[in-house]
């Protein structure tokens, strides 16, 4: 365990993250990059971007609360050190996505009301299931919920958003690249550290599986309502692209996001995340459970 955990040390994190892929970035993107002008010329597009970014902020706030809350109940120094880096990663994500809201024209004074207006209630419930475990000081369930379920979901959502932004919004695509690299590290820690703990405490299996089923249910409900609300924005973006004669394609797991409707996007995202859950849970000795309908 010590050898594997030394790969997640603060020293490694300093070298790979702040002194590595984040070097010379400003709020996660290259200096001088801006949001596309079309967002400011078209209110439907701007609102769509604000809505999705609000949910990124709320998701990252939950991740920050969970990872910081887990530091105290970590059973060893090396896990505490890793969670310290994860805490700062999540705080950085909160900061860069909040900054994106400001870049999209939300004023700092209206930040909380905007989050309340656009925040998805299912995402709040998703976070509550996780934070209940963290508050109880349950390290095993907390890490499964945080580093496998929440981070697994975030990883796929970021990848989908990255695929959609890569051609038209390099600023946001760059911001997402750094967060994807962070999430990959977090998921890796979860898989590696929890596998041995599940073997040590097999009695925790049922509770963790139940939590995964509950969180998955809230996650699917979040996707359903988020994509429904994003319908108008997606259609508008596709119309503008067509009128401009832009024939580029944004592919995500075989689906062309430039042409897909929101139902198709929701289906491919949900399918990808749930398959990932199955694989990752299997690796740590847990059995994937079908989502409990929210």
């Amino acid at each position: 365990m010590t050898n594997f955990l030394s790969g997640y040390s603060i020293q490694k994190w300093l070298e790979s993250c702040p002194q590595g892929y984040l070097e010379d970035t400003v709020y996660g993107h290259e200096a001088g990059e801006k949001e596309p002008e079309t967002f400011f010329e078209n209110e439907v597009l701007r609102e769509g971007q604000i809505r999705s970014t609000c949910n990124l902020v709320l998701g990252e706030r939950a991740a920050l609360a969970a990872s910081s809350g887990l530091v105290n109940c970590a059973p060893d120094y090396l896990s505490k050190a890793f969670l310290a880096t994860q805490t700062l990663d999540e705080a950085r994500h909160v900061e860069i996505f909040t900054q994106r809201l400001f870049d999209l024209g939300v004023s700092p004074a209206n930040l909380e009301s905007t989050l309340n207006q656009f925040g998805n209630p299912h995402l709040v419930k998703f976070a509550e299931v996780l934070l209940e475990k963290v508050d109880k000081g349950d390290f095993v369930a907390g890490v499964v919920g945080q580093n496998i379920v929440l981070e697994g979901m975030a990883f796929s959502v970021f990848e989908l958003l990255h695929a959609g932004a890569e051609a038209d919004n390099p600023k946001f695509a760059h911001t997402l690249s750094g967060t994807i690299a962070d999430e990959r590290r977090h998921v890796g820690f979860g898989e590696n550290r929890i596998g041995s703990l599940i073997k040590e405490f097999p009695e925790k299996k049922a509770e963790c599986e139940r939590m995964q089923a509950e969180m998955s249910g809230h996650m699917l409900a979040t996707f359903a309502s988020a994509f429904k609300q994003g319908e108008a924005s997606n259609e508008e973006a596709q119309r503008i692209k067509k009128e401009a004669g832009d024939e580029s394609h944004a592919m995500y797991h075989g689906v062309d996001l430039s042409a897909a409707n929101t139902e198709e996007m929701e289906a491919v995202l949900a399918d990808t995340v749930l398959k990932e859950f199955k694989t990752r849970l299997g690796r740590i000795g847990l059995e994937y459970q079908s989502p409990i309908a929210a």
């Binding site: 603060i10 300093l14 400003v26 530091v71 105290n72 505490k80 310290a84």
Partner: protein
């Protein structure tokens, strides 16, 4: 790095957002952590120590680990009830700092031949420091923001700042560099405590009496810790640095006199 902005052109809120941000933290630590894995220049040669000196250093470093673990657990616990986003983000940078301090100290213990640092720390931990940690975490568990900031970012950080700064003057070259890097971080953490409590005290001056009571309670634990640390480092008698005065002076400079 973020584009430079004239701090005088910022509002108070904008200024706090700026100095409590990840961007600001990264700019601050980048200079002194680059090319210093585990807090020291890898070209530095370790010196030979006799058994007595080495044993004293191991005990001292074990107790530094107790202090840093207390700071790590307290600062991470405080994120959950921090009053605003900027404070949450600052505390997250502090969590990473405290985690780094713990890591570099554990690494140094390993270099000194300690095979099981966890067991060694448990065996050598100073009781006063453990009691201090217990009190600090009680404030955190009770979501008592003012008491937690005071105990953590004023008292504990001043204690560490004082001890590490003095110890660095007489330490072996590797320990010296490690401690100097930590001291720079502590200064930033103390600044947060001073700023946060200073603003609160203006709005609620009666809070001062309560913080003063907490200080009196914790001072005795701090002063006992100093006495034991000096003994472990072999710095007793007339030549010993006056850590108590240094500490009380540092706390007084933050606005909390005796």
């Amino acid at each position: 790095m973020a584009e430079w902005q004239d701090p005088h052109a910022l509002t108070e809120g904008e200024f706090l957002d700026e100095v409590h941000s990840f961007e600001f933290w990264f700019g601050a630590v980048e200079g002194y952590l680059h090319d210093r894995p585990y807090g020291y220049d890898p070209e530095t040669e370790d010196i030979e120590m006799d058994d007595r000196r080495k044993d004293g250093l191991i005990t001292t470093l074990c107790n530094y680990c107790v202090g840093e673990t207390a700071a790590l657990e307290a600062s991470s616990g405080m994120i959950g009830f921090a009053p605003d986003r900027a404070s949450q983000i600052f505390l997250s940078t502090q969590v990473a700092d405290e985690g780094r301090h713990l890591e570099v100290l554990l690494h140094r213990l390993t270099m000194l031949g300690v095979r099981d640092p966890k067991r060694e720390i448990e065996a050598r931990a100073n009781r006063s420091l453990l009691r201090f940690k217990e009190r600090l975490l009680e404030f955190v568990d009770g979501h008592d923001w003012e008491a937690a900031v005071f105990a953590q970012n004023v008292i504990l950080e001043c204690l560490e700042f004082t001890v590490f700064r003095n110890h660095a003057q007489n330490a072996d070259p590797i320990t010296k560099q490690i401690l100097q890097g930590i001291v720079i971080d502590e200064r930033r953490h103390m600044g947060f405590g001073e700023n946060d409590l200073g603003r609160r005290l203006i709005l609620a001056p009666h809070m001062h009496d309560r913080l003063d009571r907490i200080k009196r309670e914790l001072d005795s634990l701090v002063l006992t810790t100093f006495k034991q640390t000096l003994g472990e480092l072999g710095l007793e008698g007339d030549d010993a640095p006056d850590l108590a005065s240094d500490y009380l002076g540092a706390v007084a400079r933050l606005g909390f006199g005796t």
